[in-house]
């Protein structure tokens, strides 16, 4: 699969004018993202997510390292033609109505807005803003603003969607609709790079995760691997002899289950434990890897010493 986003040893240091004070927003961050994936970019507040996204879009420039989007440097017109972007706290020209705002963005994309009425109506329908065509965007609620932001990001059928907190400001129903929309886009083969604090939602749609903390990348990989790694395995057996509890299963969590006994061991000890059970004449009914939730994984990573407060 083609690489869509590439960060190579990217460092961003903010420096105050006429001052020696420096702040490293990103330190040596490297990752790649292939097309067709949904990548969640996670981190606590101030971790460097928005800085990374701004550099990806060409708004900021890295102090060192290289960024490529569709093989082009950030800000390149060829790359930008294929990107739909939703900034954090999407801001707009308040005096425009939603159709006029979308028409303006169509013109900015170099397209003729004449005859785009159907496209605009469809998009407004997709984000549930039909019926508000004559209302100025300045009068919109926070959730409506987020929806129009999503509509403008989807405007030119982009191959890559960069979404900074796409569900922020939305009510639960709105969040569910956005997630549904993102799942649809994923099914259409779009590449989505999103940052969000609502981890259970991210877990539903992301297939890759990058976690950064204090400007450093602490974890990256496929969601499935990350959630399974470092986890535990549940072994269901018909019984567990007492002598095993004192020897091979020492330290394991053993508790009665509906059809026998549930033994919870570290994934690294699963084979050893199952073999011990078999050797003792027990019947191993099932072995299930216990998945972390993304939230557990995230908190584990950012709560480590040196992590975010």
């Amino acid at each position: 699969m083609a690489v869509v986003i590439e960060f190579q040893h990217v460092t961003k240091i903010y420096k105050r004018l006429f001052s020696e004070e420096k702040l490293a927003a990103l330190s040596d961050v490297s990752f790649e993202m292939a097309s067709g994936h949904v990548c969640a970019f996670l981190g606590p507040n101030g971790a460097g997510k928005t800085t990374s996204i701004n550099m990806l879009m060409g708004f900021f420039f890295p102090t060192s390292g290289h960024i490529r989007v569709f093989g082009q440097p950030p800000g390149d017109l060829i790359a930008k033609e294929q990107i739909g972007f939703l900034p954090e706290n999407f801001a707009f020209h308040k005096f425009l109505t939603a159709p006029k705002l979308l028409r303006f963005h169509l013109q900015l994309a170099g397209r003729n807005p004449d005859g785009a009425g159907t496209l605009i109506a469809d998009l407004l329908g997709k984000v549930k803003l039909n019926g508000f065509e004559n209302l100025k965007v300045g009068k919109y609620s926070r959730g409506m603003v987020q929806r129009i932001g999503i509509a403008q990001a989807l405007l030119c059928d982009p191959q890559l969607l960069v979404l900074d907190e796409p569900t922020s400001g939305l009510d639960p129903a709105g969040r569910r609709e956005v997630l549904h929309l993102l799942a649809q886009l994923k099914a259409e083969g779009k590449t989505i790079f999103l940052s969000s604090h609502i981890l259970p939602e991210v877990e539903q749609i992301a297939d890759h995760v990058i976690i950064i903390n204090r400007g450093k990348m602490v974890r990256a990989g496929s969601l499935r691997d990350l959630l399974a790694s470092g986890g535990q395995v549940e072994i269901l057996a018909d019984r567990v002899p007492d002598e095993l509890r004192q020897s091979a299963l020492r330290g394991a969590s053993i508790e009665p289950a509906q059809n026998g006994v549930r033994v919870l061991v570290d994934a690294a000890r699963k084979r050893e434990t199952a073999e011990a059970l078999w050797a003792a004449g027990c019947d191993v009914i099932a072995m299930n890897p216990q998945r972390n939730t993304l939230e557990e994984l995230f908190l584990k990573e950012v709560d480590q010493p040196g992590g975010a407060p």
Partner: protein, 267 residues
């Protein structure tokens, strides 16, 4: 070109709704109305005074009023340009705009042209006001109208390009103050100004560096009566206008060069 046009029209729509600009214009209109009372008083005295004396009193008053409006236009051009760029950065709308396949210089050019569109409307209003004041004062303007349109437009181009240049590196209020100081300094160093506190070398240096509002002043050609009409060669016009356009172009190009490597953070 479609992108630049879209940004320009959007900027124009934003500027005519900008509360600070509306307030600015309202203040200008109030001052103008106050000045108008003197003109109306003079008009009412027409029957009792000598016609020649009346003309001598009315014409300087109209000239003062027009200088005020024209100077206000320069400040308006500088502020509008600075605010048009800084406002987008402050609100964050620039992020959605520049996420589109738009080059940074196209964004600045769109902003610049949007401001010029507003200033064109202002210039036409100023032209109308010119004729209105002359009519109230019982005088006739003999100047060719294109002079009264093109000269202020070129001057406003300079001040808006200056505003854009300064706002790419500083806060819009500071940029506006610097433009204001430049305007005053340009007036002080203009040939014919009798001020003496400035050494000659500084005066000459500033005259070359600052935009020459004297050279680009349409008041050279703003003549109320045929008796005072000054004939100007087309080469005089061309020199003055090319100078102004060149100044604006250099400021704009510098702004575009600085802006291309500027971080687009929300101020």
């Amino acid at each position: 070109m479609r992108k630049v046009r879209a940004i320009a029209l959007n900027t124009f729509s934003g500027l005519v709704r900008n509360k600070i600009i509306i307030l600015f214009c309202a203040a200008c209109i109030c001052i103008l109305l106050l000045m108008l009372t003197s003109l109306l008083a003079l008009r009412n005295m027409r029957g009792t005074q000598n016609a020649e004396m009346m003309q001598m009193a009315v014409l300087p008053l109209i000239a003062t009023m027009m200088q005020f409006v024209s100077g206000f236009g320069s400040l308006l051009a500088a502020w509008s340009a600075a605010d048009a760029v800084a406002g987008e950065m402050r609100s964050g709308t620039i992020l959605a705009v520049l996420a589109r396949p738009v080059r940074r210089w196209q964004f600045l050019l769109g902003k610049f042209l949007g401001v010029q569109l507003m200033m064109l409307v202002f210039v036409f209003l100023m032209l109308g006001l010119n004729y209105l004041l002359a009519w109230i004062g019982g005088a006739t303007i003999s100047t060719n109208p294109w002079v009264l349109i093109v000269y202020p437009m070129v001057r406003y181009m300079i001040y808006s390009a200056l505003g854009i240049l300064l706002v790419t590196v500083m806060h819009p209020i500071l940029a506006f103050c610097i433009v204001l100081v430049m305007m005053i300094a340009a007036g002080l160093v203009a040939p014919g100004n009798p001020q003496t506190f400035m050494p000659d070398w500084l005066r000459t240096g500033l005259f070359y560096v600052l935009p020459s509002s004297n050279l680009l002043s349409e008041t050279h050609f703003l003549t109320i009566t045929r008796a005072t009409l000054r004939a100007a060669l087309w080469t005089d016009h061309a020199t003055a206008l090319v100078y102004g356009l060149d100044y604006a172009l250099v400021c704009f190009l510098l702004a575009a060069w600085i802006f291309r490597s500027r971080s687009l953070s929300r101020d």
